[in-house]
């Protein structure tokens, strides 16, 4: 129906989007969960201060509910609740930073490839294809075997292996955006290519970018957990949720469930929460794809 435009009461796109976002129960759950995790990890240690540097061999493997240790202690006497908070700081920090880094690199790479087109596009996208062909976990394991793992290193490495997917997504959008008339208008008025990419193409892919970024963060948290679980992550006394799982797994047969379940639960819940935020954001940005 070509001629059916319907006058609507004015709501800014943001208000409209907010309303739709808040209607998505799962997304609200995601936001609340992440907020609670941030409070738990970063403010928790103020309420429940623990020593996560010195081992305490007099009180190892205490079960949950022991005095002073609500979630028990591990094999070298670290308090599990306190360790969850500290490990969470590292997991969330690496996850967020690596997810954002990957998104920034991927967005620029994809936007430029799509905008320029031709041979440049072909070369840039073959690089992406090649990158996707190399298993990221494998690359990470080799790197952490060669270099001594640290937080900045892990952020860089995870960021550098996970920008490929956003690059592909943004390129596809960039190709369709570059022929929009406002981009043509800019070029016709003598605007530079960099202005076209930064002012018109990238802002208009923001929906895709932000949605993908939340998935990237979730993936990065999982990736950190993998590596640490395989023992190639940060070295003690520093830890993260993945590393906590590794040390816990040794004592599974001793019935020390409290070394595995809390950390595993935290990983699953944060990853789910980030993914549901991504789903909610998709609704937020998607104006056209909905039924009236």
């Amino acid at each position: 129906m070509s001629t059916t435009t319907i006058v609507m009461r004015t709501l800014t796109p943001r208000q409209r989007g907010m309303r739709r976002f808040l209607q998505n129960k799962l997304a609200v759950f995601g936001i609340v969960t992440i907020a609670l995790f941030l409070l738990f990890c970063f403010l928790g240690p103020l309420i429940h201060p623990t020593d996560q540097i010195h081992t305490d061999l007099r009180s190892t493997m205490l079960p949950p509910g022991s005095p002073g240790h609500p979630l028990g202690t591990d094999d070298v006497g670290y308090d599990v609740l306190g360790r969850l908070m500290m490990g969470g700081q590292i997991s969330i920090l690496i996850g967020l930073a690596a997810g954002i880094l990957a998104t920034v690199i991927g967005t620029l790479w994809g936007a430029i490839a799509g905008y320029v087109g031709g041979a440049v596009d072909t070369v840039m996208m073959r690089v992406v294809d090649a990158g996707i062909a190399i298993p990221a976990t494998f690359l990470l394991l080799i790197l952490s075997a060669i270099l001594r793992p640290s937080v900045p290193l892990m952020i860089c490495v995870i960021g550098l292996v996970s920008w490929l997917v956003p690059a592909r997504l943004v390129r596809a959008e960039s190709i369709s955006l570059k022929s929009r008339e406002y981009v043509l208008a800019l070029r016709a008025m003598g605007g530079t290519h960099s202005r076209a990419v930064l002012k018109h193409i990238v802002p208009n892919t923001v929906g895709t970018i932000v949605v993908n970024a939340t998935f990237q963060v979730a993936d990065a948290i999982l990736l950190v957990a993998y590596i640490s679980f395989l023992g190639m992550g940060l070295q003690k006394p520093a830890t993260d949720w993945g590393a906590m799982l590794t040390s816990g797994i040794t004592y599974t047969y001793a019935g020390a469930w409290w070394l595995i379940f809390p950390a595993g639960f935290c990983i699953v819940l944060t990853v789910c929460a980030f993914n549901s935020i991504g789903d909610g954001l998709r609704d937020f940005f998607d104006v056209k794809g909905r039924a009236a």
Partner: protein, 555 residues
């Protein structure tokens, strides 16, 4: 009246949206008699398409329809989907605007017609195929037996629309609803399709409900007209009465907004082309080649053109004639494959100025595009969009944030929009308002040349008239030269000093607007001009006869 084929009474359509209920059709009454062509006209948002879809019960689920729609005495609204399916195609069928998307690209056209027949008739497949060939013959497809085996992409746009009509006719419906059936077609093709619809209505007694915004089309084929405005029925009546002596103010306003060519002048003295002063834009034997599926395609074939300072050059032609390609090449968006282009006396492109110098030169050219939906960045406010040229050309025109704000206000004022629009986003504006913003952006740097590619063809006629008025006022004030590209000859005649006609990548005729559009010399210009429907039923009848005579004359 019980003899009406279709009778609608108190039809109301309400859409549920996020912002509450929106009433798109507010209780209209309408009747279609057997064998008549009834045109339903109105501007966007008038509810004409919604009415058509309501008859077919093809509205989305969010719509609530009340009232009564009776087809040959049978009430359609309470019918369940299964019975409605039997009605659609067999008793009422449809022709949509876009012939390419209405056909299945992976099916032979004969099979598509056969499918429509077999849906409703219990006959053998070979009988249905024979009937399909017969239908193609009826809609004027040459060599129908062979053509039935071709795929949609092998046909031209006009032929595709004929096939769509053949499908609609396949089961001999009593009523065909045609929603803007010729809007996507060129005028010469449009004229042929209108002739076809007229012939079918006369021959087979099929009634047509024609939804259109084009008054010329109405004058050409409609027996009666119904005018809609914002969901209400303004006026229904005999075509001649409504178009020549409208009762309602809205109809009068709508008609007066339709641009039309004056009568063909008896003799227009051809003046020799005067030697123009230094041109702002000059193309010399310019060609543009596209690669289409690996094969080169010459979209612009050795075109020479010059625009003098302060002159408006209208460029007309049908789709695929290369007029938009010429516009884009002039804007520097497409490289010339051969020939040369001179802007303000400086050669640009290969062997000329490039890089920053060329970008500075581009700042002296403004551009206006066709689609108000995509000409503004949805994530930029109107103010930012208008200020963009100032930012881009800040080396030549240094500005500060506050001078830019003042300039944006001035520009909004110049295009007759309230200055507080600067903080709005494009989606909050109507198509006409967006096109004014596009105009404001184009004149922000006081350009010496504006290239406007179909600036008003996506707008309703009354809005178009207002936007053209603004463009003309500004041109008189600022004296910029303008390359005005349009397929609408009447609009071009109204606004241009000189006109160039394009056909298949070449300019076939140039001259003053009166010369070219009132007394064309080239046979193609003549044919183009004869095809434009004018909103006057008597004049249109004469034109139709003249066209038929011309067709007989040319073998």
């Amino acid at each position: 009246m019980s003899d009406a084929l279709l009778s609608i009474s108190d039809l109301k359509v309400t859409f549920r949206t996020e912002d509450g209920a929106v009433e798109a059709v507010k209780g209209i009454d309408l009747e279609v008699q057997p064998g008549e062509v009834l045109a339903l006209v109105g501007e966007s948002g008038s509810g004409k398409s919604v009415t058509a879809m309501a008859i077919l019960k093809l509205l989305p689920r969010s719509a609530t329809v009340t009232g009564s729609i009776r087809l040959a005495g049978r009430e359609l609204l309470p019918l369940p989907e299964s019975e409605m399916n039997a009605v659609r195609g067999a008793e009422i069928s449809t022709v949509f605007q876009e012939p390419m998307t209405a056909l299945n690209p992976s099916m032979r056209i004969g099979d598509q017609i056969t499918e429509a027949i077999l849906n409703h008739r219990q006959i053998s497949k070979s009988e249905a195929w024979e009937r399909a060939v017969e239908m193609l013959q009826r809609v004027g497809i040459p060599d129908p037996a062979r053509r039935a085996k071709s795929y949609p992409h092998e046909l031209s746009g006009g032929q595709r629309q004929r096939v769509v009509i053949a499908i609609a006719l396949a089961c001999e419906p009593q009523l065909i609803i045609a929603d803007e059936p010729t809007t996507a077609l060129d005028v010469t093709v449009q004229a042929e399709i209108l002739d076809l619809i007229r012939r079918l209505a006369a021959e087979s007694g099929t009634a047509f409900l024609l939804v259109t915004h084009n008054m010329g089309v109405v004058a050409d084929i409609a027996d009666r007209v119904a005018v809609m405005f914002r969901g209400t029925m303004v006026e229904v009546g005999d075509t001649r009465t409504v178009l020549t002596a409208p009762r309602e103010d809205y109809t009068k306003k709508l008609l007066s907004a339709v641009p039309s060519l004056p009568d063909i002048a008896s003799v227009v003295e051809r003046e020799p082309e005067p030697e123009l002063p230094a041109a702002v834009l000059e193309l010399d034997a310019a060609s543009v080649t596209y690669r289409r599926g690996g094969r080169p395609f010459l979209a612009l074939d050795g075109v020479s053109l010059r625009i003098a300072p302060g002159e408006i050059l209208g460029l007309v032609g049908e789709s695929g004639s290369g007029k938009s390609t010429l516009g884009r090449a002039a804007l520097g968006l497409l490289p010339l494959s051969s020939g040369s282009m001179t802007l303000f006396g400086q050669k640009v492109g290969r062997g000329g100025v490039s890089g920053r110098r060329e970008r500075e030169l581009r700042g002296r050219v403004g551009a206006i595009f066709q689609d108000p939906g995509s000409s503004l960045d949805p994530r930029m406010t109107v103010g930012e969009a208008i200020a963009e040229p100032l930012l881009v050309q800040r080396r030549r025109f240094p500005t500060t944030a506050s001078t830019r704000r003042t300039r944006v206000a001035e520009l909004l004022d110049a295009v007759e929009l309230p200055t507080n629009y600067a903080s709005r986003y494009p989606h909050e504006l109507s198509g006409g308002q967006r096109q004014r913003i596009g105009l404001a952006r184009a004149i922000a740097l006081e350009p010496e040349l504006i290239i406007a590619d179909e600036p008003t063809s996506a707008l309703d006629v009354s809005v178009q008239a207002a936007v053209l008025e603004v463009l003309r006022t500004l041109q008189e004030k600022m004296h910029f030269a303008c390359l005005f590209i349009s397929h609408d000859l009447a609009v071009v005649h109204e606004i241009s000093d000189r006109v160039a006609v394009m056909l298949k990548g070449e300019i076939v005729e140039t001259g003053s607007a009166d010369e070219v559009l009132l007394a064309p010399q080239h046979p193609y210009s003549k044919r183009l001009l004869a095809s434009v429907p004018v909103p006057d039923p008597d004049k249109q009848a004469l034109r139709r006869e003249a066209r038929a005579a011309a067709r007989v004359a040319t073998p």
